[in-house]
């Protein structure tokens, strides 16, 4: 494909024409998307809309990391996976869906669980990280990794009929540990697989995560760094609240923090949170 003088191929100009028309976005915004790479951690309820919208909008390279396989009881919310992929790796299914809607971007499948042991290596290849996981130790681990690798983190969560969203470690803003220096008691750590979730709730939060990632990648607009979006689906109420800034005493990003790549790799996230990263070992839920 010949690249025109403005840096876009004729194919891109046609495909993304509705982006190029936007005065606030334009050719520069699209070129920034094409140049950027984003790692999405988790190809589940949040990850489904995140990777679909990142693929369709023209992010140059999208990495998807997940070790789970598609199960039929995921499909009520994980709209990226067709029934035909039940029993197959989620990253394979998600990447195939993205390739089908945009064959012009680069997709990387990381068919493994992101852990302190492999996270530095994987995260180093991307500009932006999206946390679309479903458990507490992964949330601390991903935030710490983004601090030591200096990557902005788009963090979303959904459970039941509620969702939350913010941007961490971006332009001097707080990291996850600045907000939550101490993990909650394990009794407060519910998962969708235990407590249920209305399928469209991670859909809403995932779309908003994709938007924040697109804004960080393109350099347009004002992100949710320093703010948190709180969504109550039952009453259709949304609060966007101002949260604390970076903590000078933060264990990970504070002024005197002694938290290095090495200390990250040896940190015991499951022990710290008293909570497992994977629910594979846990007893199966029996219903009704």
């Amino acid at each position: 494909h010949a690249v025109s003088s403005n840096g876009l191929t004729p194919g891109m100009i046609y495909r993304y024409s509705r982006h190029l028309l936007l005065p606030d976005f334009g050719v520069e915004g699209q070129i920034n998307l094409a140049k950027s790479s984003i790692l999405v951690v988790g190809a589940g309820g949040l990850g489904s809309p995140v990777v679909l919208y990142l693929a369709s909008c023209g992010i140059g390279c999208i990495g998807i990391v997940d070790s789970d396989i598609v199960e039929l009881n995921n499909l009520h919310r994980q709209i990226i996976h067709p029934e035909a992929y039940v029993g197959h790796a989620k990253v394979k299914s998600a990447a195939a869906a993205c390739r089908a809607i945009n064959s012009s971007i680069n997709l990387v499948e990381h068919n493994q669980a992101l852990q302190a042991s492999n996270a530095l290596d994987i995260v180093s290849k991307y500009d932006i990280v999206v946390d679309a996981t479903d458990n507490l130790p992964s949330r601390y681990m991903i935030s710490d990794c983004c601090v030591v690798m200096n990557k902005p983190l788009i963090s979303g969560a959904a459970l039941g009929l509620e969702g939350q969203l913010t941007v961490y470690h971006h332009k001097g803003g707080p990291c996850y540990r600045c907000l939550f220096p101490t993990p909650p008691p394990t009794a407060a750590c519910q998962r969708c697989s235990d407590s249920g979730v209305l399928g469209v709730v991670p859909g809403v939060i995932g779309c908003l995560q994709a938007l924040e990632a697109i804004k960080v990648a393109s350099g347009i607009g004002e992100t949710l760094s320093g703010r948190m979006l709180i969504f109550d689906a039952l009453s259709s109420r949304i609060r966007i609240v101002k949260i604390r800034g970076r903590s000078l005493q933060c264990f990970a990003c504070g002024d005197n923090a002694d938290f290095t790549q090495q200390s990250f790799q040896s940190f015991d996230y499951e022990g710290f949170t008293q909570s497992p990263m994977s629910d594979k070992a846990r007893p199966k839920l029996s219903l009704i």
Partner: protein, 99 residues
């Protein structure tokens, strides 16, 4: 002092599954003021019906709970010593981890 209290992220389960409470809290008799510290102990006594350890730890909220006064993190407006005013909205929200 009339306040609106909201509980989210599952904390409503601790107060009979009601998310929004319109309450009238008597200020401190000595100085006529009501701080977040006073409100926390009032909530623990008057609203929380079960598992108080899921709401408080010591004299603060348990880890993982954000406190917001008029859509602003209490860390930005004085923490425990924040003085509340008539019609303030105080939100207690537990962070979610699901996806």
């Amino acid at each position: 002092m009339r306040l609106t209290l909201e509980f989210g992220g599952g904390l409503d389960l601790l107060c009979q599954s009601v998310k929004i409470h319109h309450v009238d809290v008597t200020p401190n008799v000595e100085n006529g003021k009501l701080t977040l510290r006073d409100l926390l102990s009032w909530v623990r006594t008057s609203l929380i019906k079960e598992r108080p350890e899921m709401f408080m730890k010591g004299d603060s909220v348990r880890p993982g709970i954000l406190v917001l006064v008029n859509d602003c993190d209490w860390e930005l407006c004085g923490g425990h010593d924040t003085e509340l005013e008539e019609k303030d909205v105080v939100v207690f929200i537990s962070t979610l981890h699901g996806g």
